[in-house]
Structures are given as structure tokens and as C-alpha cells.
């Protein structure tokens, strides 16, 4: 029976080829959107690892520094602390002490690349033949309480680390799982063995830290301890203050904070932003992209579906006589349905097979590294179901038309 459908479809390969290409193109469109959507929902459901409510993020720009992006390869020579940097750190300490006094401000911390801030500090090196890649931030001890991190193993760094001979770091759960599978991450060193600096030793693991919000995928994250009471060459001035405020704190307090900061640093610049707003802004492009892609794909599919219905309809009218003969020879209505839909399913299978062959290259060749294979598989699965449903839906009316053919009328007409 299937062989028979194959033969029928093959006999009209020219005409069917175009229909198949259309199904293929539709499959690719659905695949792109389905993969994007799966990827996003997958990410969206992972925990952020922190609470973004009631946090103010203050960018502090010291006089005469630029908003530059610095990428270093290798480590700079050890040298004495830079006096400019020492003065900056001293000033920042004063600022932090000053705004801590203000009513409504609960906890004050300092960081270099806080959540939703547009600066990132990435690092990678080879260790034991494996690439260790992560994003890193240097934060003060109080950052954990501002962000409300959950420490799942070990501890967050604190004043108890003042005397230790290593650089205490806290890493995110996903980093711990990737770097030390099955082993206890606490006490392990993560720094580059070729780097002759104080080793970075893991003292704790937090549940998660997804810096840029719900939509992007999570990077491995490392927090290093920033000390504002001591200046060595690895201790540069933070450029953000991250502050937890009492819920319901208003713009009046914000103005008060800004005035205090301006009093402390007359030639500095400050930007106060609320983390909940920053999160909205960070999420907006993703929402626009997702909505836009879905609407576009929807319209494209509707169009392809209507077109396909038209083509099939025309085909059926063309084949009135053939169907008439079959009916006269005793084919039931069910047989006719099966024939029209069977041919269509055959075409669809052919089209999507080529489509799957094309898109399977993405996970195999790792075109887009950060999308996992599972996401692609779900994407392919969803698109297969969608395309089969679409073609079946398009075939229903034309095949029903075919069953209405009266053998006698069909055989008479010329």
C-alpha cells in the first residue's frame, strides 16, 4: 500500500517537488522558533539565585576615568599598589559609610560587575588539560546579604578570611558540578597554575547566580573577596555600590543617597538604578524577540497552510477521473481519504527528513555552542509534530472533497 502511494507521488515528482520544498521551508521556520522558545523557557525556569527586589545599583564613576573595556591576556607584572587606586578605595569606603547612615538603607556592598549592570569580566585558562572558563566579580563580604544568595556548601567569605594565605572564592553550583564532578569543591584551587599569584581557593558554593536575568543561559560564576581595608596590587577599586533598601523606599531617599554621595565625591559621577527596573530592561529585548518571532512564524505558517490547502484542492479537482475510477472499482470513502492523506504524509515525511538532516548538523557541529543538545531535540520534536499536524489539517478539506466525487459523474465528464 505504502509502495503504491510512493509510486503515485513519484509519478508527479516535478509538481510534488515544489510542495515538498514548501514543507521543508515551513519545517525550518518552525524549527528555528521552536528551538528559540525551548531554549528560552528552559532558561526561564532555572532559579536566578538571588532576589532582585529592593536593591539599588549605584554606578560610581571616579574623576578622569573612562568607560573602557579592558581585556587582558596574561597577568600584569607585580608592582606596588597604585596611589591613585588607594585614594579611590579610601573614598569609596567613606561613601559606603556615609550612605549606611541614611534611614531606609539596610545593607551596603561594593562590586565590580553586579547583576544586570552592563559590565562583565570573563576569564579563562587551561588547567590539567581542560578549559576553565568563568565570569568573575570581586565583591565585599556584605554582597551575599544584599543579594540574598543561598550558600549550599561551605560558607561565604568573611572577616575570618583576613589572615589566610589564599584568595577565598565562592563559586556557583553549575561551576562546581562542571569542574569537580562527584568531588567536594571546598578547598580546591581554581586558579591558573601558571599564574604566580595567590591561589584562588573555593570556600563555598552558592545555589546559582544568573547575572543577566532569566533569559540568557547561566555562565560559571566565581566571586572573589574584595577588601577595602587593604590595598595590594590585586585590589582595585570597585565601581558599583549595591545596596539593599527597606521595601517601599521612595525617590526621596534616593535623592538623599545621591546628595550624600555627591558631597563625599565632588568630582565623581553617580547613577542610581533600581534592580527591578534593570531586570525589566534586560528582559525586554528577549520578550520582543520571542513575541516577534512567534507572530512572524505564525503568519508564515498560516500562509503556507492556506497555500498548501489551495494546491491540494487543485490537485484533487485535477484527479476527479482517477478517483472516479477507483470508486467505481469498489474503493470505499475510507480508501480515498487514506490515498489522498497518505500521499500527503509521504511528501511531508520526505520534506521533514531533509529538514531533520539539515538541522541535525547544529548539535553535531556545535554551531551555537551554548545551546544544549536536549534543546535541539525538543525543537526538532516540536517542529515534527507541528508540521504533521499542519499538513494533515491542510489535507482534510481537499480529501473530503475527493470523497464526494460521484463515480458516475466523474466517468462521464471529459
Amino acid at each position: 500500500m505504502i509502495k503504491h502511494y510512493f509510486k503515485l507521488a513519484w509519478n508527479k515528482k516535478r509538481a510534488n517537488f515544489l510542495v515538498m520544498v514548501e514543507i521543508l521551508a515551513a519545517f525550518l521556520v518552525v524549527f528555528a522558533v521552536a528551538t528559540l522558545a525551548t531554549y528560552s523557557t528552559n532558561n526561564y525556569r532555572q532559579p536566578l539565585g538571588y532576589e532582585w527586589n529592593d536593591i539599588w545599583v549605584i554606578q560610581i564613576v571616579p574623576p578622569n576615568t573612562r568607560s573602557a573595556s579592558v581585556s587582558s591576556s596574561g597577568s600584569p607584572d607585580p608592582k606596588a599598589p597604585d596611589p591613585v587606586e588607594v585614594a579611590k578605595i579610601e573614598k569609596i569606603r567613606q561613601m559606603m559609610a556615609a550612605i549606611r547612615e541614611i534611614d531606609g538603607v539596610e545593607i551596603v556592598s561594593a562590586a565590580n560587575s553586579p547583576a544586570f549592570g552592563n559590565s562583565t569580566n570573563t576569564h579563562n585558562h587551561m588547567k590539567d588539560g581542560k578549559l576553565v572558563a568563568y565570569e568573575i566579580d570581586r565583591v565585599t563580604d556584605s554582597y551575599k546579604d544584599v543579594m540574598k544568595f543561598q550558600v549550599v556548601r561551605g560558607r561565604w567569605f568573611s572577616a575570618a578570611d583576613d589572615g589566610v594565605s589564599f584568595q577565598p572564592v565562592v563559586i556557583s553550583q553549575n561551576a562546581a558540578e562542571e569542574w569537580f564532578p562527584g568531588a567536594d569543591p571546598i578547598g580546591q584551587d581554581i586558579s591558573d597554575p601558571n599564574d604566580k599569584v595567590t591561589p584562588q581557593r573555593v570556600v563555598g558554593v552558592i545555589s546559582a547566580f544568573r547575572k543577566n536575568g532569566e533569559y540568557p543561559s547561566a555562565a560559571n560564576f566565581v566571586f572573589e573577596r574584595a577588601r577595602l581595608d587593604m590595598t595590594n596590587r590585586r585590589n582595585w577599586a570597585p565601581n558599583w555600590l549595591v545596596v539593599r533598601v527597606r521595601p517601599g523606599t521612595t525617590a526621596a531617599t534616593e535623592e538623599q543617597v545621591l546628595r550624600r554621595l555627591q558631597m563625599e565625591g565632588k568630582d565623581w559621577s553617580f547613577e542610581i538604578q533600581r534592580m527591578d527596573r534593570m531586570r525589566e530592561e534586560a528582559n525586554r529585548p528577549y520578550r520582543i524577540l520571542l513575541t516577534g518571532a512567534t507572530v512572524l512564524a505564525g503568519f508564515l505558517l498560516l500562509m503556507a497552510g492556506l497555500g498548501l490547502t489551495g494546491v491540494l484542492w487543485q490537485n484533487v479537482t485535477q484527479r476527479t477521473r482517477e478517483i472516479g475510477v477507483r470508486r467505481a472499482q469498489g474503493a470505499t470513502i475510507r480508501d480515498i481519504y487514506l490515498q489522498i492523506l497518505g500521499e500527503l504524509l509521504f511528501l511531508t515525511t520526505f520534506g521533514v527528513s531533509i529538514g531533520v538532516l539539515i538541522v541535525i548538523q547544529f548539535p553535531i557541529l556545535k554551531f551555537i555552542g551554548f545551546v544544549s543538545n536536549g534543546v535541539y531535540l525538543i525543537g526538532i520534536g516540536v517542529s515534527l509534530v507541528a508540521i504533521y499536524l499542519l499538513t494533515l489539517l491542510c489535507g482534510l478539506y481537499p480529501s473530503w472533497l475527493a470523497t464526494r466525487v460521484q463515480p458516475a459523474a466523474a466517468l462521464h465528464c471529459d
Partner: protein, 414 residues
């Protein structure tokens, strides 16, 4: 003869309203999407107020300083620009301005966020702002560090309601400025001119910017004519190469280019500022490829519909062939019919695009964006329509012309 074709086409379209409907839907939807895309591109790269002289403009947006193990990319600094770029041959005017930065003001207990851009006097001569009241500040104001500002209409509304603003004082980022002019809002897409508040460069809080090699600045260059571009580009590049660097131990070379905004964007999208070469052709190719891919599904859809509709008209074709019409005449007729249909679809598409653009403008997703139809978008849209009509019409027409007259007269298809 032509009116005769038109009549035939009209009758054919009316005979199968369902098919005509699907075709029109497909064509107009495709064109709406493409025209919205074209309009975004045009609003980003096209010459439009205040950047009316864009075809004679170059900019220096990003520069790279390299050392043995450090690479630093940022905008050029004022120090470098002022020292090396004042007298480049072929330049009619040059302006140094910062990139806009978020500046906050507290006004009657409310927080106002604005984008603040610092510029010199030449900025107002290179760009054509529409002044609603007052006027620009001058180079003399910039030299004297006059605390004056030009604000846009939206900022005037935020600070003063609907009242006149000239002569009044506003506060931004802890500084006070006297308003000297109010301009119409500049859309966020105008990268060179966009801001809410413009103030003189010399109001930067500390004077250190005057010696910076890299910094938050951009240079806007107005050339005498487009023919001077190569001269200006090579002169600028060689001056950057020869510039004296502040810390020769850390950084040895400085590189940067005077380029159009399109070249700058293609450099960034091509792998960041360190990428030595800007490849505008690549960005152009990517844009065209993207549009082509998007057009693929609708085009195949339309081809399929057209091919199956030919069969309906086989007897007409048979008669025409039997009476001596050449294949070319038939191809011409069918392509013309298809282009006619596409033009009708294009008309609907234009109306749809205008409505969509208006909806996007009103949604406020893009600050101050005002998507208007202009002659460039119209021309591109018309070109796209014709291209789409030909693309989807040629294959079916060729197929139709190949029908054998005898078979066609009998109503056969192969």
C-alpha cells in the same frame, strides 16, 4: 493588447477568489514584514534629521590601544582628538562629543532620567537640529565652560510642563545648567546625535579628560565631499599610528579609523573593535541574505499556487498556442499578470506597513522613534514588490509556456 491582458488577469483573479485571496494575503504580509525591516535599517543608517548631511559624514567611534599583554578598546579621548585631529585635509568641520550617559535629576520630589551628551559648538553646525525655541551654544561657550544646555522637547515637558524653557535652570547629575535652546526629540536610532540634554564638553566635572588618549568621546567629521573620504581615512589612520602614547611601557600602538556609521556597525557585528577590518559588504550581504531567506517560504508558496492554477487554464493556453502565440508572449503575459497581482498586494502591504510602523511608534518601545514613510523606503518597497513578483512568477510562466498545445487543448497536464 495590454488592456486586454489586464482584463484577462482581472477575470482570472475574480474566478477563484479563494486563491486570489491567499495570494494577496501572502504577498502583502511578506511585504509588510520586509518594509518594516527596511524602515528600521533606514532609520538607523539613512540620512535623516538631524543627521541630514550623513552622506558627507564620517565618525571616529572606537579605537584600540595594544600592548604586549593588554588590549584596550574605547572611544577616542579628547586629548588625542584635540592634539592630532584638528587640521585633517578635506575636512570642512569636525566636532568632538561624548557618547550619551544616563544623568539623573530630582525635580520637585520626582526623579527624571535623561541621556546627557557633551559636545562642542561645531556639533550644532554639522548637524541640523530643529530648534523649537532658543538656539545652540557656541565654541566660545565651550571654551568658557559656560553652564548652558540644549534640551529636547520631552525633557522640557518633564521639567517645565508645556511652558517655555529658555533662560530657566535645570539640574542633571548634580550640575546646574541654564537652558539656551529646545530642540525636537531625536530618535534613539540616530547614534551620532541622540540625547535628551546636550551641554558643553568643558562642563565635565574634572579637567583630566583633556589629556586622555582613549575616553568616552566620538569625533564627527563633515567632509567637503564624499570624494575626500579616502584622503581623510588614510590621514586619520596614519595620525593615530604616529600618536604619542601616555604609557609606552604598557601600550605600544594605537589604531582607529574614521568611518561611516554603517562601516562601524559592520565592524562591531563582525567580531568587535579588535577586528582590524571593517567589512561593510559582509553586513550588507547578511542583511540581503536574511531578507532572501525570509522571502523563501512565501515565494515557494506563491510559486506552488501559481503552478497549480496554470492547469486550470490549460485550454486557454492551448487555444492561444494553436493560434500562433509564441512561448515568450505567454511567459510575458503570465509574468505580467503575476506582477499585477503582486502590485495590488504591494499596495495593501504599503498600507499595512504604515499602520504597523505607526503602531510601533506609538508603543514607545524605541524612545522618540518616529517611523515615517519616506521616498527611500517607498523605493525599496517598490523594488522588493517587483522582485517578489518576478521571483514567484517566472517559473510558473515558463512551465505554462511549455505545455503542448494538443495536450493542453484536451485538458491534460503533462
Amino acid at each position: 493588447m495590454f488592456t486586454h491582458y489586464l482584463k484577462t488577469a482581472y477575470k482570472v483573479f475574480l474566478r477563484r477568489k479563494f486563491f486570489t485571496g491567499i495570494s494577496l494575503f501572502a504577498i502583502s504580509f511578506t511585504l509588510i514584514v520586509l518594509m518594516v525591516v527596511v524602515s528600521f535599517i533606514d532609520h538607523t543608517f539613512g540620512a535623516m534629521a538631524p543627521e541630514k548631511k550623513l552622506d558627507r559624514m564620517l565618525g571616529v567611534f572606537i579605537m584600540t590601544m595594544r600592548g604586549e599583554n593588554m588590549i584596550m578598546s574605547s572611544g577616542p579621548g579628547y586629548g588625542f582628538l584635540d592634539r592630532y585631529c584638528r587640521n585633517i585635509p578635506g575636512v570642512e568641520k569636525i566636532s568632538f562629543c561624548t557618547e550619551p550617559r544616563l544623568a539623573q535629576s530630582y525635580w520637585n520630589g520626582e526623579k527624571i532620567k535623561s541621556e546627557l551628551k557633551r559636545t562642542d559648538g561645531a556639533f550644532w553646525e554639522i548637524l541640523d537640529f530643529t530648534f523649537l525655541e532658543g538656539g545652540p551654544y557656541s565654541d566660545t561657550d565651550d571654551r568658557n565652560a559656560a553652564a548652558v544646555a540644549v534640551i529636547n522637547e520631552a525633557t522640557r515637558r518633564k521639567f517645565f510642563g508645556g511652558e517655555s524653557a529658555v533662560g530657566k535652570t535645570i539640574e542633571a547629575d548634580g550640575q546646574r545648567f541654564r537652558v539656551v535652546g529646545v530642540v525636537a526629540n531625536v530618535p534613539v536610532f540616530r547614534r551620532m546625535s541622540y540625547a535628551d540634554i546636550w551641554v558643553p564638553n568643558s562642563t565635565i566635572k574634572s579637567p583630566g579628560y583633556k589629556t586622555e588618549t582613549l575616553g568616552p568621546f566620538n569625533a564627527l567629521i563633515l567632509a567637503r565631499s564624499r570624494a575626500d573620504f579616502p584622503l581623510i581615512k588614510s590621514e586619520f589612520a596614519s595620525r593615530a599610528r604616529q600618536a604619542e602614547l601616555p604609557d609606552p611601557k604598557q601600550f605600544q600602538t594605537l589604531a582607529g579609523e574614521a568611518e561611516t556609521f554603517f562601516e562601524f556597525m559592520s565592524r562591531i557585528l563582525n567580531g568587535g573593535p579588535e577586528w582590524e577590518q571593517s567589512r561593510p559588504n559582509r553586513l550588507m550581504f547578511a542583511l540581503l541574505l536574511g531578507m532572501g531567506l525570509f522571502m523563501m517560504l512565501p515565494a515557494i508558496n506563491l510559486i506552488n499556487l501559481n503552478v497549480s492554477r496554470i492547469l486550470e487554464r490549460s485550454s486557454e493556453i492551448g487555444v492561444r498556442k494553436a493560434f500562433g502565440a509564441s512561448s515568450w508572449t505567454l511567459v510575458g503575459q503570465f509574468v505580467a499578470e503575476n506582477v499585477l497581482l503582486t502590485l495590488v498586494g504591494g499596495l495593501i502591504g504599503f498600507v499595512g506597513a504604515i499602520l504597523t510602523l505607526r503602531a510601533i511608534t506609538e508603543s514607545g518601545v524605541f524612545p522618540y522613534a518616529d517611523f515615517q514613510m519616506n521616498y527611500r523606503i517607498f523605493t525599496y518597497g517598490f523594488g522588493l514588490t517587483l522582485f517578489f513578483g518576478l521571483l514567484s512568477g517566472v517559473y510558473p510562466a515558463w512551465k505554462m509556456s511549455r505545455l503542448h498545445p494538443v495536450k493542453a487543448l484536451k485538458g491534460g497536464t503533462r
